[in-house]
């Protein structure tokens, strides 16, 4: 379980998270929606310990993420993360991209790592691209590579930060399909997204972020189709 408890986060004088609390259970898919600058990405970075926090607590399977004694590199093995910009490693083939972390972080043998990487790449539909260099692929393919690369670490959770919003419209579908597949397989996910249809159909719950606080959180279909908070209503009427 990921448990975020009253988290505050500032960059200098700018308070970006102003007391955020939420729980995500094993097997659950939570979508996070909200305007630009509302702190959605920052929350994911804090869960992943890429950013520190100023106040509050984040627990991942009862491990306090920001405690001094926590080995953050070890913790991140549990938390797969995919960014808006796909960040493939351009000097490695697709297969090497996905096999690197299992080999050097989990210390698997080369054969083992390659086997796992190959499986995950087939999983996201890149089975025929193993020896290609990522720069030769479309954004959608590179984003699927980033997903497979994270999955190859066998994470318990996936944190996805607007993974489709830098893609050409015609490539969005293939990436969303991949996420839908993961959700069906029971992967626990926090998806920051601008795709309201995806949030409604694939996630269990939706949280609406407004200026650093959760203005509304609830069952996905209800929040998207029948929001209670006027702020959520206003936001949704604008993005539709």
């Amino acid at each position: 379980m990921i448990s975020v408890q009253n988290v505050h986060k500032s960059f200098g004088d700018l308070e970006v998270l102003k007391g955020v609390s939420l729980d995500v259970n094993k097997g659950e898919v939570l979508s996070v929606i909200g305007g630009s600058g509302s702190g959605k990405s920052t929350l994911l970075y804090c869960i992943n310990a890429i950013e520190s926090i100023n106040k509050g607590t984040i627990l991942v399977d009862d491990v306090n993420v920001h405690a001094k004694v926590t080995n953050k590199d070890k913790l991140r093995q549990k938390l797969g993360m995919v960014f808006q910009q796909w960040n493939s490693f351009p000097h490695m083939t697709v297969l090497e991209n996905a096999a690197l972390a299992p080999r050097i972080v989990k210390k698997m043998s080369k054969e083992e790592a390659i086997e796992i990487a190959r499986k995950e790449l087939e999983h996201v539909g890149l089975g025929d691209k193993l020896d290609v260099y990522p720069t030769k692929m479309s954004g959608g393919q590179q984003q699927r590579l980033a997903i497979a690369r994270a999955l190859a670490m066998k994470p318990d959770y996936m944190l996805l930060d607007e993974v489709t919003s830098a893609l050409d419209p015609e490539l969005v579908g293939e990436v969303l399909d991949t996420l839908r597949l993961l959700a069906e397989e029971g992967m626990t996910m926090i998806c920051v997204t601008h795709e309201m249809g995806f949030a409604r159909d694939v996630s269990d719950r939706v949280a609406y972020f407004h200026q650093g606080v959760i203005a509304e959180i609830g069952e996905a279909r209800q929040v998207i189709t029948d929001p209670q908070n006027p702020l959520t209503q206003k936001f949704l009427s604008k993005v539709r």
């Binding site: 992943n48 890429i50 590199d73 070890k74 991140r76 093995q77 938390l79 797969g80 993360m81 960014f83 910009q85 960040n87 490693f89 351009p90 000097h91 490695m92 083939t93 690197l100 972390a101 050097i104 972080v105 989990k106 260099y133 720069t135 030769k136 980033a146 690369r149 994270a150 670490m153």
Partner: protein, 221 residues
């Protein structure tokens, strides 16, 4: 125009010319290796927040890039000599070339490093890699690709500039050529052959470098 070429004396002295060429290669490669090590330190210092190190590095880079190589060599040989520190011609040329290489390469390295998006680092950290693993497997290999050609050019430059060793009596290719021509008076022949040898030397370096790069960098970048 009734100059008559006499090549014989040149070919008789080939062994000496070759050993001069070897010294040229030797001093340039060594200046390159030492220059790389110092350049890494300078580049780190320039990106460091500690003011003192940053200033030292900046001054070094500025002097190295904006004053003539001849001046550096004279400083190392006559300048230090006046202060009672007597370097051999070889050591003087070596230290001048190291000084200049370090200054140029520091900027190359810094630019190469800054051209790698920081998101590459966050991506590798998010996979559970340590900082060291992220630099070693992700940042440095990409950086090396970007600075490889500038580094090769710097080596070629070092080979050509080491010919200034002639002015402090160093026995590299130019110094040797100078000495032999003054003994035989076959000035034109000796310098033509030396020029050809410089040409071959730099071409060999470029060729070796491109072979190596094909082995090192299979990927597109």
């Amino acid at each position: 125009m009734d100059y008559r070429f006499h090549w014989n004396v040149v070919f008789q002295n080939m062994p000496e010319l070759l050993s001069g060429a070897f010294v040229t290669l030797h001093v340039s490669v060594l200046a390159m290796l030492l220059g790389i090590v110092i350049a890494i330190l300078l580049a780190i210092a320039k990106m460091n927040n500690t003011k003192f190190f940053c200033h030292v590095a900046t001054v070094w880079v500025e002097i190295a890039r904006n004053t003539p190589a001849l001046f550096q060599i004279y400083m190392a040989y006559f300048g230090l000599g006046a202060l009672g520190i007597h370097l051999s011609p070889y050591a003087a040329v070596l230290s001048a070339l190291v000084f200049i290489n370090a200054g140029y390469l520091a900027e190359t390295f810094r630019g190469g490093f800054q051209s790698i998006p920081s998101t590459q680092y966050s991506a590798s950290k998010s996979l559970g890699m340590t900082s060291f693993q992220s630099y070693w497997h992700i940042i440095l290999p990409q950086m090396l690709r970007r600075i490889y050609h500038p580094m090769t050019n710097q080596l070629v430059w070092s080979i050509l500039m080491s010919s200034l060793g002639i002015l402090v009596g160093m026995s590299e290719l130019s110094g040797t050529t100078q000495r032999l021509q003054s003994l035989s008076f076959r000035t034109l022949e000796f310098f033509i052959v030396a020029a050809v040898m410089y040409y071959i030397l730099t071409k060999l370096v470029l060729f070796g470098s491109s072979l190596l790069s094909r082995r090192l960098f299979r990927g597109e970048i």
